[in-house]
Symmetry: C2
Subunit: 461 residues, 2 copies
């Protein structure tokens, strides 16, 4: 997948002149990556005419002239399916775009006028913006690089509701002997049960799931590299004994596949894609996790702190040692802000920050510029006020996924991490809304422009 040298050189020069920027979007599944990218591209393409980008200075000042889709750099990466997403929004009734699988990319050329005009007065400039979309689940695999198979096995916990989803697999592996010779067919069927556990857990709203690629195997479906699992019986095993087990033993076979996964799946993503991103936004469905209850919420917190390790370029960082990544600006956004009333938005941002308190500390310590915000990439509701017992209350108007018109107050977002008392009360059930019919204008949104300003604004001055 390497580009010819001359192309790399040209790209390098282009980037040196601040004219090229590689912006990546990620998030755990259902966080709204596709909606975010669709809206971002739509805003930029409409920028010259009906901008809804007041928080982006270049747009507010009328200097943003528009954007055009051009051929991407790496022809072997799927193109971000913009047209398919727009078609879904234009359907009757409008639908949310289908989620993307794996990585995709799209290149825009943005035309703008610089703030300080040159001698010619009417000078325009171009910024080449490469947009990437990839599953946040891939980042959850980073910690796997710091393990060997035995320590990884010990690190995987199967408790509570999540653990119950793996009951079938756990029973089957409980009495396995790490030293016994392994049968290919039996191993494949055990691995399939483990993958079923992962899929069930994802369906049930959990996201702290390893190895991430088991959930989206693609062309590797059925390959031995996706057929391993943690061995729970290793807790009290002696490392030297394990290392001495024969090549065809269960332990040695699983360990070999684990290493192959590290080297051929996890590392290549960082080497070929991640280390080339300049900016990154991580989308988080905080409201969805609140809806799903305490165990899922804890799980989200754990997933996020694992995921954020990929952006911690501190001295001790695994990534820094491996790949010298260069992301110089990071945004973390709670999505679907349109699903709560506007006065709740500061609380939503506050909750996101509380959820990320530890990783944010690490990032700030490592001097990675980071900003947390709440947004709605495609706004599906309108803010209203209703009279109730003589007082005015905030409310939302929208259409539910079933097509029912609704006017309601979805509830209060806790401004800090919810405690046991909060969960007992559970005052909480954010409905899901479907998108509104799209007109000729740019898509309606909430603070997408603030995100854009943080992510690309400095390149448009």
């Amino acid at each position: 997948m390497r580009q010819p040298f001359t192309r790399e050189l040209a790209d390098l020069l282009e980037r040196g002149r601040d004219r090229q920027l590689r912006l990546a979007v990620t998030g755990l599944s259902r966080a709204g990556k596709t909606a975010f990218l669709t809206s971002l591209i739509d805003q930029l393409r409409h920028a010259g005419l009906e901008a809804r980008l007041d928080l982006l200075p270049a747009a507010r000042e009328g200097r943003l002239l528009g954007a055009r889709r051009v051929e991407q750099q790496d022809l072997g990466v799927p193109r971000f399916p913009l047209d398919r997403a727009l078609a879904a929004l234009d359907a009757e009734p409008p639908q949310w775009p289908a989620p993307t699988r794996g990585i995709s990319e799209l290149r825009l050329v943005i035309r703008y006028r610089p703030r300080r005009r040159g001698w010619a007065g009417g000078e325009t400039r171009r910024l080449t913006l490469d947009l990437f979309d990839y599953p946040g689940e891939w980042l959850l695999d980073l910690p796997l690089l710091s393990h060997d198979f035995a320590s990884w096995s010990r690190s995987q916990a199967f408790t509570g509701e999540r653990g119950a989803l793996f009951a079938d697999w756990r029973e089957a592996v409980a009495r396995l002997d790490p030293a016994a010779p392994v049968d290919e067919g039996r191993l494949a069927s055990l691995a399939e049960r483990y993958a079923e556990g992962l899929r069930a857990a994802r369906e049930a709203g959990f996201s702290d799931l390893q190895p991430g690629r088991f959930l989206l195997p693609g062309d590797l479906e059925g390959a031995p590299v996706l057929q391993f699992f943690p061995l729970p019986s290793l807790d009290d095993a002696d490392p030297a004994t394990l290392a001495g087990l024969p090549e065809d033993s269960l332990y040695a076979t699983l360990a070999r596949r684990f290493r192959y996964y590290q080297q051929h799946i996890v590392r290549p993503f960082y080497r070929e894609h991640f280390r080339r991103f300049d900016r990154q936004i991580v989308l988080v469905d905080v409201l969805g996790a609140l809806n799903a209850g305490p165990e899922r919420f804890e799980d989200l917190a754990r997933s996020l702190s694992r995921l954020m390790q990929s952006f911690d370029y501190g001295r001790r960082s695994l990534l820094t040692r491996l790949f010298a990544p260069r992301i110089d600006r990071l945004a973390i956004a709670a999505t679907k802000a349109d699903h709560v009333t506007p006065e709740q938005h500061p609380r939503l941002t506050g909750l996101l920050e509380a959820l990320l308190a530890e990783p944010l500390k690490d990032l700030r310590f490592a001097d990675v510029p980071v900003r947390a915000l709440s947004l709605a990439a495609i706004r599906a509701t309108e803010a209203r006020e209703v009279d109730h017992q003589g007082r005015r209350h905030p409310a939302l108007r929208g259409t539910t996924l079933d097509g029912e018109p609704a006017l309601l107050f979805p509830g209060e977002v806790p401004a800090r991490l919810p405690d046991a008392d909060f969960w007992r009360r559970q005052g909480f059930a954010f409905p899901a809304f479907r998108p509104r019919p799209r007109g000729d204008d740019a898509l309606p949104h909430i603070r997408l422009d603030a995100a854009l300003d943080w992510l690309i604004g400095d390149k448009l001055t």
Copy 2:
């Protein structure tokens, strides 16, 4: 996907001692690759007990002791889905296994006694047999390596019934200007129409389809490398003019993608897989093509002669210059021989040889040992005789795909290439049979053992 050096070395030593063999199976879609591999593995695993391998000397002489499935070498390649195939055969009613997609592999360790016993008398040896299954369509892309985009465009013909399936795309591209700047969205939609044409043609039984990977995109779905098509309007274009067109013109964009396809899709298959095969069998559904009529039969002939270029290691060969492949023995088999009565089998082999006359000449000239035969990997019918007007006639007994018991004479296979007269008479309609219920014994077959003898017999002496 490279193995650690020590592993490669060990493999090399193993192969030096004639103890490892890499056998590849291919064929155009529906030729019966999955049934062939399933049966081959099944025979070898049963070899110690209920062998049905009289034409394989090691088995006939009782020296073949059995085979065991072990871990394959490349953990990143899907394993051949043997269990799934057997489950289909064991279903009620029995079904043909679902076709495989892309490449898959499976490793067997065969135990046998050498013909000349050593000093110990009871000595046994092992042969490690790596089996590979890959789409013959990938081989149809080889000729693409000898073209540039303009000459490839000119080489693609859209006539007759096959051409009609591309009518939609042809109309859309007829008036395209190669020099005009290209719109990404429009290009994607034109490419999708071309891919639709390819899919329709495959559905209609054609196999001479390029580029082959458009039909099985896998993880490359939506990537620009799979979004190009021949430009019919280039016939009278001047090469220098074309070369001078701007980077973002339609011509330059398509040509760039064509080159990327050559370098990142076609070449890697030959480099990473093909050049490592020791033996190869190509399966051909001759009867299916006869059933489908003259245009499909011609198409099959053309496809086969293209496909066989991959095995022509003559001095002028493209492959020899590129990859130094090493296949030292080749089999070409007409499959589904159980769908005609036994006395037709020599004719079936004769027809296959006639179909391949030109490529076989080239192969023999290039000194590639090759053998043509007819076989049924999994026999679905029984040969019978019936009385008709006082004479005994050959017939087949089986169960049609609809579950109807049938006793019939399917017709005569022409012993040479059918002429116009033959097609006018069209005495021809081979029914499809479903597999018979599988017992504990090895699967019934016709001459699979002859194929095995040619492909691995010399390694079991």
